[in-house]
Structure formats: C-alpha cells, structure tokens
C-alpha cells in the first residue's frame, strides 16, 4: 500500500474527562439556584471524519470537531434547557443560569457531589476511529469503487461513503451521578446506479458498520459491500410494476426489522404514552400481535450500532422485552417521562447531541426467532411478494399507519421466486399487521449497521433485526391494479 503524505493525519479523540468533576458540581449548584427538583449537565466532544468518492474520484475528505454543553433543569415537572458550543467556565455557568429560569420557587444555596459510576462495556474500541489515518479510510472507498465497477459493465455510477465519529460524553446530575462514555461509530455505504436496455436505470445500496474498530473492515470488506450494492441494481433491471392491493408477503431477514421499528417500536416510547397520543396507550397486558411475535429492544448487543453503555441521561443500556408472545409487556422510558409516570427509566433516554433534550428512543429492536425454516416459508406461499431489501420507513404513531419501502422484491408464484418487482411500498396499521404474522423463521439476523432513526428532528443510530417472516393480507402499494 502506498503511503500518502497524510498518513500521520489524526485528530486525537479524548479519552479522559475534559471537565473536572468539581467544576460540574459547581455548574449543577448554579442550575439549581432558583429551585427545582433536578438538574443535569451533558458535555459532548465529537470528532467526525467523512470521505466521499464519486465519479471514480475522491470528492472530499473532511474532518470536524463539535463540542458543547447542554444543561437541563426540571422544576415542577417543567423543563428548562440551554446549550452552548463554548466549554469555558463562563459559558457553562451561563447555560446553567439560562436553564434555571424555568424555576420560579426561589432556591437556596445547595451543594452537590457527583461520583463516577461504573458502566458496562459493550463496544470497547482499542484505537478510536478518530485516531485512524485518513489514508486508510480513503483506501476503503477506493476499493469499494473498483469492486462495484468490476461486478458488471452495466454499473454506471458508484458513490462510496465512509463516515465515522468518535464521541465522548460526560453526564453529571443532581442525583450524584457522573458517567463518561466513549462512543465510536462508523459506517461504509455504497450506492450504485446500473443502466439496462432503453436507458432503464436501477439503483442498489448496501453498507454497514457499528460501534467497532477500524479493523472491522478486514472481514466486512469494501468488496463485499460494493458487490452487494451492485448485485441489487443489476438484479432488479427489467423489474415489473408492483401489483396494488392485499397480498401475502415474505420479508427477508435483517433490514426488514424496520417493520418492527415503525409498526410497534415508536408507539411504545413512553412520551407518546404519557401524552396519550400513541394507539398503544393503556394496552399493557393486552394481545397486540400474533402469539408468534416477541419483540425486544436491546441496548446491550456487542458492537451493535444502537448499543449504549449509558443512555444520554446516565442510565445503562438495557435488554427489554416489549412484546412477549403477542402480549404487550412494557414501554421504553427515559428518566423524565418515567418520573412523571411513576415508573423507572429503561435506559432509553437518548439525544442527537448536546443541542437536544433527551427523549425515549429505541436502541436495537428485533424479533425473537421462531421455528420455521426460511425455505418452507417461501414454499408455503402460492402467490405473493418476497421483499428482499428495504429502503426507509415511517409511522404515524397516533393512528398506527406505517409504511416501508421495498427496494428489491420478487413475485412469489407457487412457492418459488419469480420476476423482480419495482416500486412497491408496504402499508399497514401496526397491531393489525403483527396479528397477521403467520410464520416466523429460525434465521434471526441483525441489519448490517446502517440505521438512523429520526424523531422530532433528532437523529440517533439504531439497529433492527428480523428472521424471515410471513405476513398475510398486507397491503402492497403499487401502480398495477
């Protein structure tokens, strides 16, 4: 490998506290100066790197540093929040004083002590991604580019992107808690456009990563990623229009977990339950899915994209059973909603950055495996749709309507896969769709590590997972009636 002049280029990630606990304690005292029942300081320092290759050239290599503090004060259940990009003492105190404005009761001089709490370790990364030479990241996208073009001469455009973040967070609160965590995260993604006859264009996308060290790409190779993206684009050339209406669908394992994320996941987040805006409000203990369905949200999966040693309120990530054999077992709580609802945090309080208030979010959401062999599931369908790959999804948690977009699909005819299908979207109402689950595969699979979940304008990394699944009477959106 040729050494680039930038071989020594790194922005060191910081692995130890940049703010002394004593200073954080003073900031907490200032935040509580006007009264209130709770205050919290969240400090973040993130170093991000991104390399983009398109049209066979490195388009850009970039690097950035984001840091700041968010201070939250809760008084009589009301929340005051202030943030600043500055981390000098004056800025910290200013943020604390601004957040404190929510309190009206007039406080008194109080002191707070915080002590560092031990955390589990689900994603230890020896060399922070920020400390890995940029030249190695450049090499990754170059290899992906070459492999995508080599796959088939109908591949006409390749965009390869590598991005990582080494994020360090410190959280101190008036419940004496101080936690610090290093959260590295990376992903490699390849987008391919293939051109067939008469100018027909199809796209393919694949990628993956997680909370892993850079050596992850020794086994999850850029060649593998590129080939899969190219395969999707080529395989769907000549696809027929999707047939509209209710059909039996079979979901391939992995990425299809978006179905769970949208169909039930969001509706089980406690803020929606407290506000009574979710259709799952008041349904604990009730049958909300087929008995074959067990849904778990697990922040403790080793090296997974959605895993957290601590959530963004200082509570450890947890393994939570949300639905067990079709019965609704629990919701996902952040600390604030838990307190208002007389419950305990489930370690689900997450935020995009110091600029955001935490709220209940998913981590890695997956369906427990069943007994059916994947080939038997496909064989069981006389006519239907096999959904092999997926775009994004979205849900209206109030009426439960969700969609998810199918980027690669095939007709099923007499238990066998047939022609490729384009332009299909699945739509349903969460609990109804899950009641129509008739077969669950024995092949659990996590997604490759690409998920980004958006809620209220905040993005957080998440994981999903699903075994092969058969759902009856699913509405498929298409253009053919």
């Amino acid at each position: 490998m040729k050494k680039s002049p930038a071989a020594s280029l790194v922005v060191p990630a910081i692995r130890s506290p940049i703010l002394a606990p004593a200073l954080l304690e003073k900031v907490l005292a200032r935040a509580m100066a006007r009264g209130g029942e709770f205050a919290e300081v969240y400090v973040e320092r993130s170093v991000s790197t991104a390399v983009v290759l398109e049209e066979k050239q490195i388009k850009s290599a970039q690097c950035g540093l984001t840091q700041g503090v968010g201070v939250r004060v809760i008084a009589d259940g009301k929340v005051g929040y202030a943030y600043s990009d500055d981390l000098d003492d004056a800025a910290l105190f200013r943020a604390a004083e601004t957040a404190a404005l929510i309190a009206e009761s007039g406080g008194s001089e109080r002191t707070f002590r915080v002590s560092r709490a031990a955390l589990p370790s689900y994603y230890r990364v020896d060399t922070p991604l920020a400390d890995v030479e940029v030249a190695r990241k450049v090499d990754l996208v170059k290899r992906a580019n070459a492999a995508a073009y080599a796959y088939d001469k109908r591949v006409k455009q390749v965009t390869a992107t590598y991005a990582d973040t080494s994020k360090a967070i410190w959280i101190a609160n008036t419940e004496n808690r101080l936690v610090a965590d290093n959260q590295d995260l990376c992903r490699l993604g390849v987008h391919v456009v293939a051109e067939g006859k008469k100018g027909e264009r199809r796209t393919g996308f694949f990628g993956g990563g997680g909370r892993v060290g850079f050596n992850y790409f020794d086994s999850f190779t850029p060649e593998h990623v590129a080939k899969e993206a190219a395969r999707q684009a080529i395989a769907t050339l000549g696809a027929v229009d999707a047939k509209a209406g209710q059909q039996t669908v079979v979901l391939a394992p992995g990425w299809s977990g978006i179905l769970l994320h949208e169909a039930v996941g969001h509706g089980l987040e406690a803020d929606f339950i407290r506000k009574k805006t979710s259709l799952f409000t008041g349904k604990l203990g009730q049958q909300v899915a087929s008995p074959k369905v067990t849904v778990i949200d697990d922040g403790t999966v080793a090296n997974a994209r959605g895993s957290i040693n601590t959530d963004d309120e200082g509570n450890p990530g947890q393994h939570k059973v949300l639905i067990e054999n079709g019965i609704l077992k629990g919701y996902m709580y952040d600390a604030h909603n838990a307190k208002l609802m007389g419950q305990k945090s489930t370690g689900s309080g997450r935020r995009q950055s110091f600029k955001h208030m935490p709220m209940p979010r998913m981590t890695n959401t997956y369906l427990a495996p069943g007994d059916d062999a994947p080939e038997d599931i496909i064989r069981s369908v006389r006519r239907g749709l096999y959904c092999a790959n997926f775009g994004g999804g979205q849900v209206d948690i109030t009426n439960g309507n969700f969609v998810f977009e199918i980027s690669e699909a095939y007709e099923i005819e007499n238990g066998k896969l047939g022609r490729p299908v384009k332009g299909a979207t699945l739509i349903g109402v969460g609990p109804e769709a899950l009641k129509n689950v008739t077969m669950v595969g024995c092949d659990p699979m996590p997604d490759p590590g690409l998920g980004i979940c958006g809620k209220d304008g905040q993005n957080v990394p998440v994981g999903v997972g699903l075994p092969t699944l058969r759902i009856d009477n699913m509405t498929v959106g298409g253009t053919r009636v």
Binding site: S4, P5, A6, L9, V11, E55, Q57, I58, K59, S60, A61, Q62, C63, G64, L65, T66, Q67, G68, K78, G80, Y81, Y83, D85, D86, L87, T98, A99, V138, K156, Q157, V193, E195, R202, A242, A244, G245, K275, K276, T277, K355, M357, G391, Q394, V395, D396, T398, N399, N401, V403, K422, G423, A424, I427, G428, V429, D456, T475, V476, G477, G478
Partner: protein
C-alpha cells in the same frame, strides 16, 4: 467577537500555509422556543451556537474541516487539518472556489431581519402557544391531547471570506408556531394532524387561533378513517402535500444528478415534461422569503431559476463545483451549514399558482381521493418511482366525504407531472417550499 475579521484571518492563514484558495464560512445563531401542555409551560429552550467551516484547495486537491471550538489554539490546528485533508484527497481539476466574476451581480433581496423577532420576549412565545392550545381545544371536544404545541424564534448570522475577494455577511430572523393535536373518537380511534406557520417577519405570521383551529379541524375530520379498495382515480394533493411533490420534482433537477445521469430529467432539457400549466421556480430573491439570501453558501449571488416553465424543462440547479464539471453556471444554489461542504439545495421553491379555486378542483371530481397527509420518502429521482402512504378524504360527487387511511398513492414522477389537470389559486408559503392544491387526472390508490 468580530467574526468577519476572523473569517478573513483564517483564510489568510490558510493561504500563507500553502492553500491556493481558501474560504471560511462562519455561522452564529441563537434560538429560543417553548412548548406548552394543559395550559402550562412544558419546556423552554434557549441557546447560542456558532461554528466555522474552512474549505481549502491546494494544487486542485480539496480539504474541508469544521469546528465549533473557537479557542485560538484549536483554530490554528484546524487550519492545518484542512490542508492535511487536502493532501489526502485526489486532485480534481474541477475543484475551486467561485471566482471574482461569479461573485458579482448581486440583486437587492430586501430585508431579511425583523427587529421585532430578534427582540421577541419569552412571554410572547408562552402566550402564543397557550392561545394555540386553547383554540384547538375549543374547536372540538374530541381534541383531547397534543403531541406538541409550541412557538419559537431564531436569529442567524452568516460571515464568509475567501481568497477570491469574498468578504461579506448577512443576518436573518425566523419565527414559527405550530400545533400537533390528537383527536379521539371515544372508542379507541385516534387521529392526528398538524398546522404550522413559519416566517421571517412577525407581522406576516398567522394568528395563534388560526393555527390551533386549522390543526384541530384537520385532525378531527380524520376520525373513523378506513381503507378503500384498490383503484385508479383522480387524486388531489392539498397544498402541504403538493409542496412535498414539488420538492421531489426539484430534487431530480439537481445539476449534480443530471451530470451523473442519475435523474429522470437526463436528456430532457427544453422538452415537455409536464402539463402546460406547470411552472416550478426556485427563487432566491423572493421578497421576505424564508429561503431568501443575498448570496448562497459560497458567496454566489442568488437568483430566480425556472426549472419547469409551462410544462417545459427549462433549467437545473447548480453550485460552483457541479457547474464547472457540467460546463454550466452556478445558479446560486450552494446550500450549507458550517459543518458541511456546499451542496446543491433549494432557496425558495414553489409551483406557481393556477386560476382555479381548490373548491372547483374538488367539485369537478366524481370519485377521487383528496390527500392531506403522507408517509414515506416519496420519489426515487433516478427511476422516477413514486409510492407513498396516504391519508385524506374520499371525494364523492364533488364533495369531500369520508376519511381514508392505510392506502398508498403511486405513479411515476414524469407521468404524474404530465397528468396534472388542475392547479389551484391557493399558493401560500409556510416554509421555503410551497405549492397550491394540485390535481392528477389519475393515480393508483392501493388498499384492499
């Protein structure tokens, strides 16, 4: 802090350290917002933020770095980092900053800053949000809760400087309010909707009553929504949904996608791509527009760019890099924040109004679908496939009738543009992208 001087200083330092060209982009902002619940404050957020992005070209190699840490030592290291990143990139003869000639020719965009917004007291936001909540509840007792009700403002300043003679700044204000009510039918059926207004100037903002009432009306009328049979029928998008469609169409007119032959519009410039009433414009000069600014993210003057005029594809959107690649001129559409390189985006994007009232558009439909909410991301601009989840009201004999949910509408972008057979006179911008009511002669609705 004198940010203009800082931008210049960073550019000079980069040049001194070997950059052929350099450009600094600084963003400084403050924001304040409030949400209410049950007649009281739910939360209050106040913040200040700033950051700088530095783009350098060294021997036709591009480097970019950003930081929100303005500590002098950090800023020194940050200039070095941008240069080092350039050395890791491949040379590309199209890399470069807009030249002096590209930076000239500014037109007057009028005022962007409203002191009334900049000095808006927190009390105003609390009072406004409370009035919205009250109005929504008063509209119908079936409005039982809210996802959120709020109001807020932000003030933003932009400073740019480059080795090509650029040194300028502008500041703007933004004020907004919104309601997301939930209506209950008493038997477990829940429906939601939202209504919002977002402006630069306080005196242009709707009343809190109007926001609360409209949001409530949109939620309540969806109660009892059901699926319909799959069929091909005339479909009407209300202005909010029409705006998302216009966004999809304009995304396909990105000069970058055209150059990469990754858009349905490839090879169609000057050709008819839509019904003759369709005119879609990106207008960076729109008076008081949310997306209006004197120059784009790399200092190029903004302008008015027709994308489709009377159904004919007229133009594409470019930033400087893509324009150079494609042998075109930048249209002043370099969009960015300090943490990103410029990329092609919209300024104020809209479909020009027609001359038919929305009531007439609905009145002419015997059996069709009026869409008021959608799920999913819409169009694939490479293939033209369009398929989204849709909620709304069924149209029977020219009247809005029963509510509909859990269906999709699907078509292909080019076919949809050609099948527009009615454009409403009701264009209002409630954000940087807007459209009047539009009617498609036929789309596929998928349901039972």
């Amino acid at each position: 802090m004198n940010y203009q001087a800082l931008a210049k200083k960073l550019v000079q330092r980069a040049a001194r350290k070997g950059a052929t060209q350099a450009e600094a982009f600084i963003q400084v902002g403050r924001e304040s917002s409030v949400r209410v619940r049950d007649g009281a404050i739910e939360d209050l957020t106040q913040a200040t933020s700033r950051g700088v992005g530095l783009r350098v070209i060294a021997g036709s190699r591009l480097g970019f770095a950003y930081t929100s840490d303005f500590n002098p030592a950090t800023l020194d290291a940050f200039v070095d980092r941008a240069l080092q990143l350039a050395s890791a990139a491949a040379p590309n003869r199209h890399n470069g900053l807009p030249k002096k000639a590209d930076l000239e020719g500014r037109q007057d965009v009028g005022p962007l800053f409203d002191p009334a917004v900049a000095n808006l007291p927190a009390d105003w936001k609390v009072k406004t949000a409370l009035e919205i909540e009250r109005a929504a509840k008063a509209f119908d007792p079936r409005v039982t809760t809210f996802d959120s009700v709020g109001a807020g403002d932000h003030v933003s300043e932009v400073y740019v400087a480059s080795t090509e003679g650029l040194s300028d700044s502008y500041q703007g204000t933004y004020v907004f309010m919104y309601a997301v009510p939930v209506a209950t039918d008493g038997h477990g059926g829940l429906q939601t909707s939202y209504w919002v207004d977002y402006k630069r100037f306080l005196d242009e903002l709707d009343t809190p009553e109007a926001i609360g009432t409209e949001a409530a009306r949109r939620a309540v009328r969806m109660l009892g929504a059901k699926k319909v049979k799959s069929q091909k029928v005339p479909v009407i998008f209300d202005p909010l949904m029409a705006a998302t469609f216009v966004g999809n169409v304009a995304a396909a007119a990105s000069g970058d996608l055209i150059f990469k032959k990754s858009s349905i519009f490839v090879g169609r410039l000057g050709k008819k791509v839509g019904a003759s009433g369709v005119t879609i414009v990106d207008d960076g000069l729109l008076a008081r527009g949310l997306g209006t600014s004197p120059f784009d993210g790399e200092g190029v003057p903004t302008r008015r760019t027709p994308l489709i005029e009377a159904g004919v594809l007229k133009g594409f959107l470019y930033d400087a890099f893509t324009a150079r690649k494609a042998g075109a001129k930048s249209t002043g559409n370099a969009s960015r924040g300090y943490a990103s390189l410029p990329h092609i985006g919209f300024n104020n994007l809209y479909l020009e109004r027609g001359d038919v009232s929305p009531e007439t558009l609905i009145g002419e439909v015997k059996n069709g679908f009026y869409v008021t909410a959608m799920l999913g991301h819409g169009a694939n601009v490479v293939t033209g496939e369009y398929s989204r989840g849709a909620n709304g009201l069924w149209i029977r004999d020219g009247e809005l009738a029963e509510p509909v949910q859990e269906v999709t509408v699907a078509g292909d972008l080019l076919g949809m543009l050609s099948s527009i057979d009615g454009i409403g006179s009701d264009l209002t911008l409630r954000g940087p992208v807007g459209a009047p009511t539009i009617r498609f002669s036929e789309l596929t609705v998928s349901g039972e």
